[in-house]
């Protein structure tokens, strides 16, 4: 059996999308050279639309020039998946982990990311489930509560998952979310009658679900890491 697995968690608060992307690229390179252990970034983004490798920008329903008016940015990325929205009150996890060391292929890795969000939802009495074939993500009935988009390079992951705690769902009206036309987007706030604790608590629960599902027996927390200078704020 494998030895003890360590996870280092960075609680980052609000991070600009491009800053987070640059940080991930550096961490992927460090992880590949075994300079760092498996690392998990926990953060939120300001309003941002992102596209995956397939560049499905036909799923952006407003002109890119209009985005500034609604206070949002647009970024093209190398991750899998279609168009999505990230914004305040959406919990994001970017695991930078070695799939080879943990013994997972892409499919099993994504299933575990889905399970992470399903387990968190169940803490609030919300029955979520993985999507049907071709609809990767986490659903409550026909409504999507969590999205996934991942990049795997030399067996090291980047990008990850986005779980809707209580984002402004109006932003999703400007896209065909994940390229799926006839399904709604929802949030934990909408799906549960339980009073939600502070978002910091929910983020920590999401991280705990991740650590448990992936079998990490040591979790080291790094609060407000000082890697980024300009755009970092405390959530």
């Amino acid at each position: 059996m494998r030895g003890p697995l360590k996870l280092e968690v960075w609680k980052m608060g609000f991070v600009n999308y491009l800053d987070a992307l640059k940080l991930q690229e550096k961490l992927v390179s460090d992880r590949k050279l075994c300079r760092i252990p498996d690392t998990l970034l926990s953060l939120q983004h300001p309003p941002t639309y992102t596209l995956g490798k397939r560049r499905t920008d036909h799923n952006l329903l407003i002109p890119a020039s209009e985005l500034k008016n609604i206070g949002a940015e647009l970024h093209y990325t190398q991750r899998g998946g279609d168009i999505t929205f990230h914004g305040p009150h959406q919990a994001i996890l970017y695991p930078i982990i070695s799939l080879r060391e943990i013994g997972l292929g892409a499919r099993n890795y994504v299933e575990k990311l889905e399970s992470t969000m399903i387990e968190l939802s169940s803490l609030y009495g919300v029955k979520a489930c993985a999507g049907q074939k071709g609809e990767t993500g986490v659903w409550v009935g026909e409504r999507k509560i969590g999205a996934i988009g991942v990049r795997i390079s030399h067996g090291i992951t980047s990008h990850g998952l986005a779980f809707n705690i209580d984002p402004d769902l109006k932003y999703f009206k400007h896209i065909v979310p994940c390229g799926i036309t006839d399904k709604e987007v929802t949030s934990l706030r909408r799906e549960t009658s339980t009073v939600l604790p502070s978002e910091e608590v929910i983020h920590e629960q999401l991280i705990s679900c991740f650590a448990r599902l992936f079998g990490y027996n040591t979790v080291v927390w790094k609060e407000n890491p000082s890697i980024l200078s300009d755009h970092e704020e405390i959530a």
Binding site: K53, G81, G103, R107, G134, T136, R151, S153
Partner: protein
């Protein structure tokens, strides 16, 4: 050939039993591995015929990826380097880099994969080939794993977790 037949027939037999015993994961150890090909630890295969080497990803790789929905390939005329990425595949919202086991010049690219990316799943060693390369170094080919070594490599990789 014997190895291939053994692997296929055992996999077929196991598929029947796996359906009734879903907790068994033995079928993972029995992905098809072909004799006569060379293999990289990142699960790509190379078939060297004359002056051309054909490259793709293995049955083990496609099984662990899930259904491939998109394939990104380079242009012919470009070059590849051993261990470096030359393209990517997307499955289950994950893009995975594909690395070249050898260095050389790209002479042909499988254009069928843009319309039919699932060929990588259904026929990883035949119709799902990705690029053809003129190898620049025969020693790189020799340093790759043979079918027996690669089978053992996959078994050890899957069993240790």
């Amino acid at each position: 050939m014997a190895l291939r037949m053994w692997a296929s027939s055992t996999a077929n037999a196991l598929k029947i039993s796996c359906a009734s015993k879903p907790y068994l994961s033995l079928s993972r150890c029995f992905s098809t591995v072909l004799d006569g090909l060379k293999y990289a630890e990142s699960h790509e295969w190379v078939k060297h015929e004359g002056s051309v080497a054909t490259i793709g990803i293995t049955d083990h790789a496609q099984d662990h990826l899930g259904e491939v929905v998109f394939v990104e390939l380079p242009e012919p005329g470009g070059s590849v380097s051993k261990g470096k990425g030359f393209g990517a595949v997307e499955s289950v919202k994950a893009t995975s880099d594909v690395n070249s086991p050898i260095s050389g010049e790209i002479v042909e690219v499988n254009s069928k994969l843009s319309e039919a990316p699932g060929l990588i799943n259904s026929s990883p060693y035949e119709e799902g080939w990705m690029i053809k390369v003129k190898p620049s170094s025969s020693s790189e080919l020799e340093s790759l794993m043979g079918s027996k070594e690669y089978t053992k490599f996959c078994e050890e990789e899957d069993a240790s977790h």
